[in-house]
Amino acid sequence: MTKTLAVSVWRGKEEGGFVSYEVPRRDNQTVLDVITHIQRNVDHTLAYRFACRVGMCGSCAMTVNGKARWTCRTHVSQVAENGKLELAPLANLPIVKDLVTDMRDFFDKWARGLGQFKGSRTRKDEFEKVRPDSKARMAADAGIECIGCGVCYASCDVVSWRPDYLGPAALNRAWTLVNDQRDTQLVERMKAVAGDAGCHSCHTQGSCTERCPKQLAPTAGIAGLKRQLMTTPAGGK
């Protein structure tokens, strides 16, 4: 007899409920495989989002048994409790449909934290020399591999309490640029990330660092911003 998984999936928008499905259990099955099985074989109307399936694009994050995770690289064996899975959309983001959330707020906040690189050189200039072993570059490298999956944002209590809080991913991005010696927007960026919409609201609870699938530490980056802002006013004097 084939083993099965009992899967509860959120259906609907903000208003909705969990619907139960039975899915065959397979070897090396990922949570994304489970959702794909339901969508292709049981209910074609199930909405979910994915692209690369190999942990690069950051589009398949969902709440799995109560915790935000990337589903493409989460094996069922890691998370199923007594053969049961509960799948819901990411928290702290509006639901578009079923497992799909509206990520606009999340990415708009990257922009508000000045997450764009702006250099001073043109293609006609020489390359700037950046020492890979310099303190600043190593700090930037520590946070640079973010794939923008939103797991940290969905796991952050401060985001749920303060809707204008930029969140761990945007602040981590800002921290990498603060440490990029080629970037020219340091002063404006420090203004953008100060105060209660920025790094000073972080309680250093560490859920973002705990849950980040890329093992980044936004908490450390946010602490770095706070240290830097100790001597830099947030402007508007």
């Binding site: 309490w161 303060r162 203004k191 105060g195 000073h200 706070k226 802002l229 402007g235 508007g236 004097k237």
Partner: protein
């Protein structure tokens, strides 16, 4: 001054006052454990504290630390857990600041004045 700049400054005030309070709490506990030993009556406490300006100065610093630290934390709790913003959260902070200052310094005065 912008709202962000005020919040930035308050964050550092809260952290620095926390460091002061940590030292005060350790000293307070150490003095208590040393002083009590075999039991201590109210009259005996007052006999030691009355007229001691060093004692008064120490606890005045303790009160000032609390008056700086507590209102910022309480405001954050009010904002984050109860959605209180703007004027109301400032009012809560002011109430706690003045409450702690008046009651705390009055208590210090009460035990050092002879």
């Amino acid at each position: 001054m912008t709202h962000a700049e005020t919040k930035r400054q308050l964050w550092y005030v809260q952290r620095i006052s926390a460091m002061v309070l940590a030292c005060c709490v350790v000293a307070h506990l150490a003095i208590m454990i040393y002083a009590v030993r075999g039991g201590l009556s109210g009259a005996e406490i007052l006999a030691r504290t009355q007229g001691s300006w060093l004692f008064g100065a120490f606890y005045a610093v303790f009160v000032l630390g609390c008056a700086a630290h507590v209102p910022i934390g309480v405001t954050n709790i009010a904002e984050e857990w109860f959605g209180v913003r703007g004027f109301k959260s400032t009012l809560i902070a002011q109430l706690f600041t003045w409450g702690i200052l008046i009651l705390g310094l009055r208590a210090v005065w009460g035990v050092i004045a002879s």
